[in-house]
Symmetry: C2
Subunit: 630 residues, 2 copies
């Protein structure tokens, strides 16, 4: 009956999409579950999460020019929180309470929502009662937890699950590594402190234990090499032996071991995840089969008419011939019924992208067939598909590159037009669907299209300050065209194709790193914001603007190297700083000067989380992806 | 007969040892081959290779205090070359000429010997005719080729073969990477050069194309981050976007892809090598079987008496019972003869380390059994083997660590004695053989033994300058004892045990890196030696010693950072520089100032060879080793 079909179709769609929520098997609950999975509701969720995270740009301290009063961002935040709560309630509706509260993700989201509201109320009170005591929105670093814990971010959640399961093994290696660094630091202290050596800028050299630990840890990040070695090396050449041994053990060997451990765990977890996913999928399909089956003699089967009705719900747009074909593929015994073994393959089959012939006709072919199939048009199409068409345009790109290199910008209209003609020819020949399936065609369209738009804008704006910026953008787009040549050369095709194939996953892992960076950036903003300001280096200002607004930076390497714009004063600058903090631990020295040595804890935590763990997981992912593709 | 047995035993020993030389199967040739493989001849070869490489320390420009006149080092070098030539002739004697000259290794060694002699003759003429024109020994960088091409360095040769076979695939990725850097450099040039920005020290910023390429390549090595970004970032915050995109693509993604390619190739080559080795082994054993077999009916077998005679040559020290046991293990059908399938397992069986019971008695047990097996002695042995024995001494090491940290050195005699007692007890209980089989026992013996020796030397020397150095060495040894505690903690045991297991292979790969470093160090000495000298930084000297002896370094970052001792003026300093050049490209800036911008080519070549290729192969090796061990 209808309810059974509804339940079965929901289970089959779950198996096809790899969804894992466990809902109550009743008609109204399943309808609610289907509503929950509607595309527009999920996009609204992603939009709210993105908006919630983006609020950091507008909240104080904000990016200059994008400041919004606190009640403005709070209203937006409350709207997002309301939608999150609505999603939670919706999910609570169609799940058993026990199941709902046993799922740590729901508990997390609920906690974060509650904590955020507590924080907002507290902040409102704080900023109205004592606005000068630097009120803090301490719940902001928790926002990335929404990305991890909402079922919308399935792949990001898989990445985080992988990280979580790898932690015990990684911790063993990390603890061993840290103990090694501590031991070498003890050794360095004993070897060097008696000599009272100093760095060129006057700082004491290996004079107390915590400084030893810091300098040696930074050496592992290679940020202070060879400066950390020079004072001892100048005094006695044999000191180099200590640093060489340290670098070999703690950098070359240990960092490789950390990567090996991360990679090993990654492969193991991936294998387990695949097994779990397959198991869950079969469980759901088995359940759907049990709902739809009838007994025929000793066997349990699903009839053809039942199948038609099921497909009517799952694939409403497809023709009857299509769904019959699917059943024929599944029906291995050719008996016009599906037994359990046949049925268990249905989700894999549904995931195969089959197209009907009527899909393959281009838009133009469908609407103006007489012109499209005319002889001249056929010649054009043969010409476009011929390899010389590609060679000609590759040569044109090379010529364009030469023109770009020698700054002959006037000829650019010619090239733009030529490449636009190429795109139009391809669109005509391949049709919209096939055109957009190939990465390079989309790339061309975006680059040339953006170049056209920018050229037109530039002509309109004329001779103003903004013209320079538009010209820069145009320039970028022109040079990007060169990338296409790489794709044509055969020896690069494999590498680039693999890269394009794993592109979406790279974006996912980029998301993982973004979560961690966001967390550390917000903490940095609260702790270090405002201590260092960027005023330029003219040294003509009054005493408050000298030394980047903080006299403690006088004579520091941080000031002399002009790092002042690397600060935590707003979200954008904080993110840039964090990205370069990976391999520039010396940025921390400035913040240590303006606060105190405890600032190093921030760097230690950042480096262990974001560089040692997350970056290695990214590397492990690329290693595994490449091995699978080759 | 005897000759057949000789041939067969040689083939079996080849299969057992994995030797691959193809020699003429005649009695005198096989005898010559066996002589060639004698241990002392091979050790002499390794010694000569080491001596030949070590001459760089004594040749001009030499490490201060170790200078030897050129004819002295040349005499040693000629002696080494003579031995190499002798080895070549010896190998030529027992191989077919075609086979000998078809082997590229022999051709290489011959060429290097000839080139070295030409170089030496030319140098003798040069230095006597025109000694002031900086005579150059240009064949010295070729010396590492002896390590690679002599059959003695089998494992190093395998590592280089792996590198050689991986080059084509790695080149594809590298070329793509370099093209990307070139493209980004073009982009950077166009975006930034119009603005006439400058670095804080006055250098022009992204002003010409080659400088752009250099700065961006160094950014991939992370040596100039965030300095390379700051001028543009200060001017316009959006510039950060360019650098962020560049870092993500060229550093995170491309470097991971290079590692993935290297790792993929490494695994593939390893698999092929194992297959080849197995194939070669079986071929040799099959040939040995064909030599020894007799027909019995339809079958071809090896008789028991033949086996005994064979074992008499291969394992002359073993008892008849032992060799009979070996045959019983091989003889699966229990017919007291070996057929071909049985025989093919003989090399694997010979490689299994079996010990006879008489081996397992300790030295003391054999010689003073009455005292050794006495009741009190038994109690002592039980106590030593008990786990509390280990706990007590672990606690003692911890206490010792505390004493070291707070500098209570006087108590050290107490600890040294206690640990010596521990070693003596273990030696007594386990016996020499079992004691030396465990890594940690050997480690203890070395550390405590060296500490005793150093303490005694210190007492003898008394209060002199050298006392300080001895005290430092003592210190190092004390702290090293702490490493033992790591080995006791269970969660680290696995990691450390894996490390110890792959330790020998790590040394082999260290050898590979050493070969590359030696090559680049010698080239650097010839090209850059003498331009920068280290005179201290007092600034009180005359004009020749100011600015490290080269006025072009005035106002340079190289001089301000006091990098002057990082120079190519002798072999030891060159090797230290090379090791830190990996992640300190700014050292190159000093050499660019004192020569010209072509000096960057040296860094490019060094970085691509030693960091991008060799370091990644090292990482791939550790990845694979860890995965196999877990
Ligand atoms: Na670095």
């Amino acid at each position: 009956d209808d309810e059974t079909l509804l339940l079965a179709s929901a289970l089959v769609m779950d198996a096809k999409g790899g969804r894992t929520l466990e809902y109550i098997l009743g008609a109204k609950y399943v309808r609610s579950y289907n509503l929950y999975n509607q595309r527009y509701l999920r996009w609204a969720l992603s939009f709210c999460i993105a908006l919630d995270l983006a609020l950091a740009v507008f909240e104080s301290p904000s990016v200059p020019g994008l400041s919004v009063p606190y009640w403005g961002t709070m209203i937006l935040e409350i709207l997002c929180l309301c939608y999150f709560t609505f999603r939670l309630f919706h999910a609570f509706y169609f799940q058993y309470s026990k199941v709902f509260f046993r799922d740590a993700k729901n508990v997390m989201v609920l906690s974060v929502i509650i904590l955020t509201m507590v924080d907002m109320i507290g902040y409102i009170i704080w900023i109205n009662v004592a606005p000068d005591t630097h009120p803090v929105r301490w719940s902001r670093p928790l926002r990335p937890l929404f990305i991890i814990n909402f079922p919308a971010g399935k792949q990001i959640r898989r990445a985080f699950r992988n990280i979580r399961r790898s932690i015990p093994d990684i911790m063993n290696v990390l603890v061993l590594f840290i103990l090694s660094v501590l031991m070498f630091a003890l050794l360095a202290l004993k070897l060097f402190y008696r000599r009272n050596m100093k760095y060129p800028n006057g700082d004491s050299y290996f004079n107390n234990y915590l400084d030893c630990v810091w300098d040696l840890y930074v050496l592992v990040t290679t940020s202070n090499s060879p400066d950390v070695m020079m004072p001892a090396y100048d005094r006695n050449s044999w000191s180099a032996l200590f640093f060489v041994v340290y670098v070999i053990i703690c950098l070359y060997i240990f960092m490789s071991i950390v990567l090996a451990t991360v990679y090993n765990n990654y492969k193991k977890n991936l294998k387990n995840e695949v097994k779990e996913a397959v198991f869950l999928k079969r469980k759901k399909l088995a359940r759907a089969f049990d709902l739809l089956k009838v007994h025929r003699g000793k066997e349990e089967i699903i009839t053809h008419s039942c199948w038609k009705k099921l497909m009517g719900i799952i694939l409403p747009d497809r023709s009857a011939a299509y769904t019959d074909l699917l059943m024929k593929i599944l029906d291995r015994n050719n008996k016009n019924v599906l037994d359990k073994k046949d049925f268990l393959n249905v989700s894999d089959l549904l995931n195969v992208p089959l197209t009907e012939v009527k899909d393959r006709k281009t838009f133009l072919e469908k609407h103006i067939p007489r012109i499209y199939n005319h002889r001249i048009s056929e010649y054009i199409k043969i010409g476009v598909r011929h390899k010389f068409f590609r060679y000609i345009f590759d040569i044109l790109i090379l010529v364009n590159a030469v023109f770009i290199a020698v700054d002959l910008d006037d000829a650019d209209w010619f090239f733009l037009s030529i490449f636009a003609v190429e795109i139009i020819c391809k669109l005509y020949t391949l049709g919209g669907k096939e055109f957009f399936q190939r990465f390079w065609n989309v790339f061309d369209l975006l680059v040339i299209g953006a170049a056209f738009v920018a050229s037109i804008v530039e002509k309109i704006i004329g001779d103003t300050e903004d013209e320079r910026s538009i010209l820069d953008i145009l320039l970028v787009l022109r040079v990007m065209r060169l990338i296409k040549i790489f794709g044509s050369i055969k020896r690069f095709k494999v590498i680039l194709q693999t890269l394009i194939n794993i592109g979406p996953s790279i974006v996912i892992y980029g998301g993982v790193m973004f979560v961690f960076y966001y967390f550390f950036a917000l903490i940095g903003i609260e702790v270090f914001g405002g201590y260092i300001k960027y005023y330029g280096y003219d040294n003509h200002g009054d005493s408050t603007t000298l030394f980047c607004g903080n006299v403690r930076l006088n004579n520091s390497d941080f000031y002399k190297n002009r790092y002042c714009k690397n600060n935590f004063n707003n979200f954008a600058q904080a993110m840039v700083l964090i990205l370069f903090l990976n391999f520039a631990a010396l940025i921390t020295s400035g913040f240590v000067l303006v606060t105190n040595k405890a600032a190093r804890i921030y760097f230690y935590a950042f480096h262990v989380c974001c560089v040692v763990i997350v970056l290695n997981i990214f590397t492990a992912f690329i290693l595994e992806a490449f091995i699978l593709e080759f």
